[in-house]
């Protein structure tokens, strides 16, 4: 085994292969930074090139890209507040809050180091894939996977925040979004309104970008000025290193959560990242800083997401079952080089196995180093007026969203969910539970259904289920006993659910959102009765609490109503412009609306001089076309005027 490992290391250190690995890393870094574009985009863009290389170089190139995406996405999440990839939404929440307080270097330092550890833990697990990881994957049958999803939900409950009604309503709304599309249990298509676009349900990328990215861009555009009001010092990394060291065990635990997430086929990095984030909240005594810039939140989520993408390769290599979307493309590449992953490959091509391990380990370390190196330059961007960055940012998000199906529906969905995210932000609804509800609803439904079909109710006593369930039960028991003692000794019971603080609330928008959400839930309730009974369970799980909660929020909204819509009128106008942009894209294609939007942002919002704006706008527009060309080949064509 050691022999093979050394042979593989020697094979990787051939100049051509190292060059391929680094080229892959560069592409991965860039795509990690572009919001909405992540591992899948990076790998699919590299795919045509690998056929010009030998097998080892080609695979090293893809692995280089896969392993650094979740490291460099930290930069975007922290500096811009728009998640660089869906799995870094928690980093965007905590890291951006820190960046606004002038502590970007601290947040980034911890993020990079945690990513590196996550990557290395993932590599180590791959190294021991054959003797250890394989049996674990085989132990995780559907009942165990269902229990794992329950654990995720339990951890997510700590993100509900102070305003219980709004937090729960947001979670229910997320679950409702998650059940759109094909039902797992029976042949029903739910809430598709006859639109083919909705037959697959919502894409995670679009939901994450809409709820967080678009809403953030709108607020920053309205505020004017740079991203940070203070000068961002990202040259002194010392504090970040100290923070990392203080939280080293948390990072390690988060990485292990990430590894488990990777073992579960088709549950992506997003789910395990939220679980790790929830774990960080649960295991932190003073919860008051979560949502306002808590370094432990970053440490946990960055450790987890990188570990997940790498351990995604375990089921891919051992069982030919891709652990995630990027792993699926990697699997395709293996096929085309004539490698057929499965129990045989591990014994037939041990060198290849170790080449993969070395590639991801090396990229994790070098990738983190590269991120440290480029960040000081990128941080300077945060001082220039945001409108200048917003223009390319909005367009990159459009391209990222367009990767889902390459139809105009992607773009409409992005801005409609953006409007929802914006309403939630100002209506005081926490967005994290909504995204978690969305991420977990389909695995929960699928595994519950399969489990009950295959095992009846006997699954409850399986040893694996009991072990995993103890993750929930033991902490609950401990905290229960502690409370009992406190109560007996007459001490005040410390409030547990400090959680994420309510975002500053605009009362008129809160009322609008509550009314909108209650209408959605009531409609959903009506449509649910047309489904097969088996397909009703999960929607009802969202609707049953959703209807009373939102109706109560409407009532509360009416009672608390103040005419304060004007406060956010500036932002409302920007939202209207973006929605109009989406409609214009549909009607007359990409070119004209994009030029108008660029002009509006650069001249009216950023107040650039006409010549600099023209030059800069032309460069941005050229880059956008280039990206469309690289990724798809055909930007949206107008429906009314067939022009792109």
């Amino acid at each position: 085994m050691i022999d093979n490992a050394l042979i593989a290391l020697d094979a990787l250190f051939e100049p051509m292969r190292l060059a391929a690995l680094f080229a892959g890393m560069l592409v991965g870094m860039i795509f990690g930074m572009l919001p909405g574009l992540g591992g899948v985009a990076a790998v699919s863009i590299l795919l045509p090139f690998i056929y010009y290389l030998d097998d080892y170089s080609g695979l090293a190139m893809l692995l280089g890209a896969v392993s650094v995406v979740y490291t460099s996405d930290t930069i975007t999440s922290v500096l811009l507040g728009a998640p660089g990839s869906p799995a870094s939404a928690p980093t965007a929440i905590e890291g951006h809050a820190l960046a606004k307080q002038g502590q970007a270097a601290r947040a980034l330092g911890v993020g990079f180091l945690a990513s590196m550890v996550g990557g290395l833990v993932g590599s180590l697990v791959l190294f021991f894939a054959i003797p250890i990881a394989g049996p674990i994957v085989l132990m995780l049958s559907t009942p165990e996977l269902f229990t794992l999803a329950l654990v995720g939900l339990f951890f997510a409950s700590s993100m509900i925040g102070k305003d219980l009604a709004k937090g729960l309503a947001a979670a229910a709304l997320g679950v409702l979004l998650g059940v759109v599309g094909p039902a797992q249990a029976a042949a029903d298509f739910r809430f598709t309104f006859g639109q083919v676009y909705l037959l697959d349900g919502f894409s995670l990328t679009i939901v994450a970008l809409g709820l967080f990215g678009v809403a953030e861009v709108i607020s920053m555009l309205a505020q004017g000025g740079g991203i940070s009001n203070q000068k961002m010092e990202v040259t002194h990394w010392g504090e970040g290193f100290r923070d990392f060291w203080r939280n080293r065990w948390l990072v390690l635990r988060a990485s292990l959560i990430g590894v488990l997430g990777g073992f579960v086929p088709a549950v992506g990095a997003s789910a395990s990242t939220w679980v790790a984030y929830g774990h960080a909240i649960r295991s932190t005594k003073d919860k008051s800083k979560f949502g306002k810039g808590e370094i432990r939140g970053i440490a946990a989520s960055e450790g987890a997401n990188n570990a997940t993408v790498i351990s995604d390769l375990v089921p891919t290599l051992l069982f030919s079952v891709p652990g995630g979307p990027a792993a699926a493309i990697f699997l395709g590449a293996l096929f085309s080089f004539g490698y057929y992953p499965g129990p045989r490959m591990v014994t037939q091509n041990p060198d290849l196995m170790f080449l993969i391990v070395w590639s991801v380990a090396l990229s994790s370390i070098v990738g983190a180093g590269l991120c440290f190196a480029v960040t000081p330059m990128l941080a300077r961007l945060t001082r220039i007026p945001f409108a200048i960055i917003a223009a390319p940012l909005v367009l990159v998000m459009v391209i990222g969203a367009y990767q889902a199906t390459s139809t105009i529906g992607d773009i409409f969905m992005l801005f409609m969910l953006g409007a929802l995210g914006w309403l939630m932000k100002h209506g005081g609804w926490p967005r994290a539970p909504a995204l978690v509800g969305f991420v977990l609803s389909s695995p929960m439904e699928q595994y519950f259904w399969l489990t009950n079909q295959i095992h009846g109710w006997s699954w409850v006593t399986r040893p694996g289920v009991l072990i995993i369930a103890s993750i929930i039960v033991i902490p609950l028991l401990i905290s229960g006993v502690r409370r009992l003692r406190q109560w007996q000794s007459g001490e005040a019971v410390a409030s547990e659910a400090e959680g994420v603080p309510a975002e500053q609330c605009n009362h008129s928008l809160a009322l609008v959102l509550a009314a909108l959400a209650s209408a959605l839930f009531l409609y959903a309730l009506w449509e649910t009765f047309t489904f097969n009974p088996a397909s009703r369970l999960m929607p009802l799980l969202a609707i049953a609490p959703g209807v009373p909660l939102t109706l109560w929020l409407v009532l509360r909204g009416v009672r608390e109503y103040r005419s304060d819509l004007g406060r956010d009128a500036g932002e409302l106008r920007i939202l209207a412009v973006l929605l109009a942009y989406a409609v214009a894209l549909w009607a007359i294609g990409l070119t004209i609306p994009t030029l108008v939007l660029l002009g509006w942002m650069l001249l009216a919002k950023a107040q650039m001089r006409i010549w600099t704006a023209t030059l800069y706008g032309a460069v941005v527009f050229g880059l956008i076309w280039f990206l469309f060309d690289v990724l798809r080949g055909d930007p949206p064509v107008g429906a009314l005027i067939p022009f792109n």
């Binding site: 699919s44 863009i45 795919l47 045509p48 090139f49 994957v137 085989l138 132990m139 049958s141 559907t142 094909p182 797992q184 249990a185 029976a186 042949a187 029903d188 298509f189 006859g194 083919v196 676009y197 037959l199 697959d200 086929p265 088709a266 089921p315 069982f319 030919s320 079952v321 891709p322 979307p325 699926a328 493309i329 990697f330 699997l331 395709g332 590449a333 096929f335 085309s336 004539g338 057929y340 992953p341 499965g342 129990p343 045989r344 490959m345 889902a404 199906t405 390459s406 139809t407 699928q446 259904w449 399969l450 079909q453 295959i454 095992h455 097969n532 088996a534 060309d629 690289v630 080949g633």
Partner: protein, 355 residues
């Protein structure tokens, strides 16, 4: 970048192969639309075939494989309906996941698959196998299973349909658990002992299941079969030791299968297995383009490089093209009203599919 690459490659091709520039596809670019994601079996197969078509099509066109996933392949096929070029330079390369919704008249289908011309087709055989824990040792003893048979699938109206229909034909009592996300997870569930009867397509059969069989962890049963004179009765060359469903029925009942169950199975199974991966062209594609593909398919099948590569990947499966192939596929795409009614009532009564 892809276009940039295309241009450079095209230039290279222009200079080196100037002598081959007088075919139908000379100077053209062919877009192969795969209505599934990159990395999926259909995408990989399209990439596998790409260099051989570039080499053997007259005029050596540049071929781009483009993925357009969504709606369980309906979105990509609808896109093809609206955007395909009539000169045969746009190909819809797809599986029964696109054909079944069309045949059954599902909502959202805008493509008129039975009007399309068939450029070429590649078999995508499937092999059924069972867990040794059932006590079943071969196809004939399937009804003597010691434990209830459990089959895992994705959705009744998708690529699971022929498998489910084969159980109907053979009259086996199988509990089907639908709702898995892919055949890979089903395979994993088989290894974990959650399901005990399964179908897998050729590449997975060769690389995953055959090793299991050798270790004694799986018992092979039968294949979907191959076309022989318009009947799906021949043995699949992928697993020539195994009987076809047709043969199994004959052994069990002493007479060849017939009736509505068999007709439905044969129709659906032929587009799923025998013509599993099919390249469709615009309805107005010129005969010249079709002839070009038929000639290329013949040349590819004779290419020793292809023969060697396909031995590893698909167990030596060969492409097919021409009028016979097209006629069989079109027949399967427009089944009799009787078969359609049978399928729709089976799906809605047994599996809750709504039409």
């Amino acid at each position: 970048m892809r276009k940039f690459l295309t241009t450079t490659v095209a230039f290279a091709a222009l200079t080196t192969m100037a002598q081959a520039q007088d075919g139908y596809f000379a100077g053209k670019t062919i877009d192969v639309i795969v209505p599934f994601g990159t990395g999926g079996a259909t995408y990989v197969s399209a990439k596998f075939l790409e260099p051989y078509f570039e080499k053997h099509l007259p005029g050596n066109p540049e071929i781009n494989v483009i993925d357009r996933p969504g709606g369980g392949s309906i979105l990509g096929a609808n896109w093809f309906e609206q955007n395909a070029k009539a000169d045969g330079s746009t190909i819809l390369f797809t599986t029964s996941s696109t054909a079944n919704p069309f045949v059954l008249g599902q909502e959202g289908v805008e493509y008129r698959l039975s009007d399309y011309r068939v450029a070429y087709s590649h078999p995508f055989g499937a092999v059924a196998y069972v867990s040794p824990s059932t006590g079943v040792t071969d196809a004939a003893s399937i009804k003597n299973s010691s434990s209830p048979l459990v089959y895992g699938g994705i959705a009744a109206a998708a690529s699971d349909l022929p498998g489910l229909l084969s159980f109907e034909v053979l009259g086996i009592d199988v509990k089907s658990v639908l709702g898995f996300t892919g055949r890979g997870p089903v395979r994993l569930a088989f290894e974990q002992g959650e399901v005990n009867i399964d179908y897998q397509f050729t590449p997975v059969w060769l690389t995953q299941v055959v090793p299991s069989v050798e270790e004694g962890n799986a018992v092979p049963l039968w294949t979907g079969g191959a076309m022989d004179g318009g009947v799906l009765k021949a043995r699949d060359p992928v697993a020539p030791d195994l009987p076809s469903v047709y043969e199994v029925y004959q052994t069990m009942n002493g007479q060849p299968p017939s009736g509505i169950e068999w007709e439905a199975f044969q129709g659906i199974a032929s587009v799923t297995y025998a013509y599993g991966l099919t390249g469709y062209l615009h309805p107005d594609a010129p005969q010249e383009a079709l002839d070009a593909f038929a000639a290329a398919v013949e040349a590819i099948n004779a290419d020793p490089e292809f023969q060697a590569a396909s031995q590893d990947v698909t167990g030596g499966a060969r492409l097919s093209a021409g009028p016979d192939t097209e006629a069989t596929i079109k027949a399967a795409l427009s089944p009799s009203e009787e078969v359609k009614t049978y399928l729709r009532s089976l799906l809605s009564e047994k599996y809750g599919v709504k039409f």
